[in-house]
């Protein structure tokens, strides 16, 4: 039966789940209910959705969807709530904002927002920021949770975060190194795997460097090089040593476009510290045999163009910025920056360009936060970092629990009394979750409000929970920075229950806070104004009907093409105008933990840590292909394919009497969980993977039964600001 015969109507819209894609969804609706979903079937390249988008019907109609505002009636975390009216919920939240602001000052309000929904109008991060800025200001955290190591490296080395070439440049590469990068699971731009497949079929050689034999490795890589977590920089330095020793570096490129290579060379050769960073030096550190390092170095040096893609996972480590800076240095040494098929050692996550399309779409710049604009920059932060998004806060995101607990007595800028959470699964997705739970349960935190779609671990700890609609329940526009299309997110169904969009929630709060002109347009007026301000789209109505506006550029975007083709007129925005292998901005920070050239420095919680005697396994907390961070938890079609497990090598499992599927206790000083083991040869011995995003679910003894990776992670950050989600020691034992 055709759709028309069955009374179904198909509406084209764009997925939105914070995975770096904005894939097409053709949603069928009958009598106001979604019946099924297709993906983009228009002109190629079609923006085909992954399993998450395909399962969205089950997420929208999940029995766990929050349909009414809720007020806590039990203790925080107990999960006892009663349904209240929107008026009561909004009056309470507005009243608490007003009370806390007037009693303690705006700094006592801590807004934790992130980008759990990515679009231009309703996204929670923007609307809550605007609300609280107009209400007098608030405190925030600094640092991108996902890729601050990359951010530090790019700002200090290139002077900008716009380092990404578009994905459809891959087929121009003759070699791709996937360094800790698994786009088969992470997506990170629609069609990333499709372009990788095309590259491979065009003869591109692909090498994967990763502790785990990922799905991307299995499908695309000609060679897998397993590497011990946290040691990537050592291997990269050894590759640099091979190139220097053999004279394979592109010296003309280095002379013309870079600054300070000689200082780096002196360190690599051992001239600086007496330790030549040879493959033999790197072998016991990395677990990679010296000849393998030598071969990769030579291959990468002589195969041109070659793209080193620096996954952001290895950058979420105790020395994440050194890894990203070393990767950029290798890209410069091989002369692969600014050319088609090359790569500026681009950080895998595409969101570095985000401020650009936001402004392009006619959105006014984010308001200045009246509180934070008057505060000094965070004391240990790269000074120029302040001028990029998530750079204003006085507290690093890794320290948020500590700041909530300690306040000014702990040296933080304020005593926090009100926690406002929007578009982020706080605290599930934050390091050392047990500490955050303690902070949220502390009576010094007088009020917690959370925007949520589900009763998440954080919502259970909130005082008021405001139910949010999904992207299928309002109109918006979406775009990912290095994709070649805009998506119109058509409203497909009415909001479920009493749920509202986050913009509507904040608009209602603004009225109650006597804020004038918070948002005076209708939804349609705002979206039309964005399209009017967007040179790429001429016809709003056509855009809305088609759902996807594809641009079909003649050539892929190549990062830094102008700087390389015409350096005189296009200097890099760095002090020297060049790619700073020796960074003068780092030199000015005068921090011995942040050398101006990339170095391999001692880690904490690695195998040399005395703690390793007790907790001998290195933990990594990878992205899970069935989830976008914590979203899509317990969606039945996905969960039946991929249960949450701890991935462990067969030899480590055997030594502990663990068989595939056995419940195991994964633990360290910070917490413990019991989940099934997945015993595999696809994981490096000595390493265990608990994929991040599963929901924290403590039993009566505080043992997490949900498998939330952050039970085990350390709430410390690297000197450059990276959240070290992949630096932690654990032990695994068969659960009794």
């Amino acid at each position: 039966m055709s759709a028309q015969e069955s009374g179904e109507r198909a509406i084209m819209t764009t997925c939105c789940s914070h995975c770096g894609g904005a894939c097409g969804l053709k949603v069928y609706v009958k009598d106001g209910v979604i019946t099924r979903i297709e993906t983009d079937d228009a002109d190629e390249p079609q923006a085909r959705a992954c399993l998450k988008g395909r399962a969205y019907r089950q997420r929208v109609y999940h029995p766990g969807r929050l349909l009414h505002p809720l007020k806590r009636v039990g203790e925080r975390g107990e999960g006892k709530f009663e349904r209240i009216s929107w008026d009561e919920a909004l009056d309470t939240v507005a009243g608490e904002i007003r009370r806390v602001r007037d009693t303690y000052g705006p700094q006592a309000i801590l807004l934790k927002m992130s980008v759990g929904d990515m679009n231009f109008l309703h996204t929670g991060a923007m609307v809550a920021d605007k609300l609280l800025c107009m209400a007098g200001g608030y405190s925030s955290t600094w640092g991108y949770f996902s890729y601050e190591g990359g951010t530090f490296a790019e700002l200090t080395t290139y002077g900008t975060l716009s380092t990404q070439s578009s994905r459809h440049d891959f087929p121009n590469s003759r070699m791709i190194i996937m360094w800790g990068w698994n786009p088969a699971s992470t997506v990170q731009d629609t069609n990333t795997t499709w372009f990788l497949a095309q590259a491979r079929e065009a003869g591109c050689r692909i090498v994967s460097v990763d502790p785990r034999h990922t799905d991307s490795t299995a499908t695309f890589a000609h060679q897998w090089i397993p590497i011990r977590p946290g040691t990537d920089t050592a291997m990269m330095l050894a590759m640099a040593h091979v190139m220097i020793q053999d004279g394979l570096q592109d010296q003309a490129f280095l002379d013309r476009y870079t600054y300070g290579f000689d200082r780096f060379k002196a360190y690599v050769t051992g001239e600086e510290d007496g330790v030549p960073k040879t493959p033999q030096w790197a072998e016991p550190i990395t677990g990679v045999a010296a000849p393998v390092i030598e071969n990769l170095a030579r291959e990468y040096a002589i195969t041109k163009p070659a793209a080193l893609i620096a996954g952001i996972g290895p950058g979420r480590s105790a020395r994440g910025e050194q890894y990203h800076r070393a990767a950029i240095t290798l890209s410069a040494m091989t002369g692969n920056i600014g050319i088609p098929g090359g790569s500026a050692a681009q950080r895998s996550w595409p969101a570095g360009l985000l401020p650009f399309p936001f402004m392009m779409m006619g959105i006014p710049e984010m308001l200045q936060n009246p509180w934070e604009a008057q505060q000094p920059a965070a004391k240990d932060m790269l000074p120029l970092r302040r001028f990029w998004p998530w750079g204003m806060g006085g507290v690093h995101v890794a320290q948020m629990a500590d700041a909530l607990l300690e306040g000014r007595s702990g040296g933080y800028p304020a005593d926090y009394k009100l926690l406002y959470i929007a578009s982020t699964s706080y605290p599930n997705q934050y390091l050392n979750v047990n500490k955050h739970v303690r902070a949220m349960k502390s009576p010094s935190l007088e009020f917690i409000v959370m925007h949520e779609q589900f009763m998440t671990p954080g919502a259970k700890l909130a005082d008021i929970v405001l139910p949010c609609s999904t992207f299928l329940e309002r109109n918006d526009i979406a775009q990912w920075s290095s994709t070649w299309f805009y998506g119109f997110q058509n409203k497909v169904i009415e909001p479920l229950g009493e749920s509202k969009s986050q913009l509507e929630i904040c608009r209602e709060l603004a009225k109650r806070l006597d804020i004038l002109h918070y948002f005076d347009q209708t939804e349609e007026e705002a979206l039309r104004a964005m399209v009017d301000g967007c040179a790429d789209i001429s016809d709003f109505d056509e855009f809305r009907t088609k759902g996807l506006h594809k641009m079909h550029p003649d050539q892929p975007h190549v990062a830094f093409r102008e700087q390389i083709e015409d350096p005189e007129n296009n200097p890099f925005p760095t002090p020297s105008g060049k790619i700073e292998i020796y960074s003068q901005s780092i030199e000015q920070m005068d921090n011995p933990e942040l050398p101006p050239i990339p170095k391999y420095l001692p880690n904490w919680e690695d195998l040399n840590d005395p703690l390793a005697a007790k907790y001998p396994l290195q933990l990594i907390t990878t992205h899970f292909k069935g989830r976008a961070h914590s979203q899509f938890h317990k969606v039945p079609w996905i969960e039946e394919l991929m249960p949450q497990t701890a991935l462990i090598n067969a030899s480590d499992a055997g030594a502990r009497g663990i068989r595939d599927g056995d419940p195991v206790r994964v633990f360290n000083e910070r917490g413990q969980m019991i989940i099934p083991a997945k015993v595999s040869e696809r994981m490096m011995p000595g390493v265990v993977d608990v994929p991040q995003g599963a929901w924290f679910d403590p039993d009566e003894n505080g043992v997490d039964r949900g498998g939330c990776a952050n039970v085990l992670t350390n709430d410390a950050y690297s000197p450059g600001g990276a959240c070290a989600t992949n630096t932690a020691l654990v032990e695994v034992e068969k659960a009794r």
Binding site: Q58, D215, F220
Partner: protein, 191 residues
């Protein structure tokens, strides 16, 4: 005419988009029935491991064993396109009979979790074919690893290979499928 599938095993990342798309389109709940499946094949010892994925549903055999096995003629092969279809009303239910499942080497017959579940399986998206659309799994694949159509045309377009990792061709049943296979001997191992 005989319709069939093409599967490029070298492109499949095991992403399950086809599996979920199929469940959504045909409204098959989470549970044991899955018309489209992805099988993971893993061999070897760290670090020399070989991994392949096999996306598999029903190969609409030219000489289908399930049709021959069914005692009540609930399974038939359509003359016009060779698609093997099942009439759930005629099926006696799994509590009484699973001869089709026993007969099929490809695990195509599927049964839900309900009592005396009737057999269900891939029908190559008859409803979509009637509208000139590709089957939902083909249209879903992010790496364009699947195709469907007249098997003669698929053979002409992709070659006639009938072997793939995790698949054994039955000369007797003649499954309507061709592959671009990912074989272990082609993979370079490492480290």
């Amino acid at each position: 005419m005989q319709l069939g599938f093409f599967f490029d095993q070298t492109r499949c990342t095991g992403c399950y988009a086809c599996v979920v798309a199929c469940k959504d389109w045909h409204d098959v709940p989470a549970g044991p029935a899955s018309w489209q499946r992805v099988v993971t094949i893993e061999r070897g010892k760290f670090p020399d491991v070989f991994v392949a994925y096999l996306a598999t549903s029903c190969y609409h055999c030219e000489n289908p064993a399930c049709v021959a096995a069914c005692p009540v003629s609930a399974i038939t092969k359509r003359e016009q396109d060779g698609i093997v279809v099942v009439d759930g009303d005629k099926c006696q239910g799994r509590d009484n009979c699973d001869l089709c499942l026993q007969a099929c080497p490809y695990n195509a017959p599927q049964f839900g979790a309900e009592p005396n579940a009737r057999m269900q399986k891939c029908d190559l998206c008859l409803d979509r074919l009637a509208q000139g659309k590709q089957p939902i799994c083909v249209a879903a694949c992010p790496t364009r690893a699947l195709d469907a159509g007249p098997i003669d045309e698929l053979r002409a377009k992709y070659g006639g290979r009938t072997e793939a990792e995790g698949f054994a061709y039955s000369a007797n049943l003649r499954p309507a499928v061709v592959f671009k296979a990912k074989m272990a001997e082609q993979a370079e191992v490492t480290a």
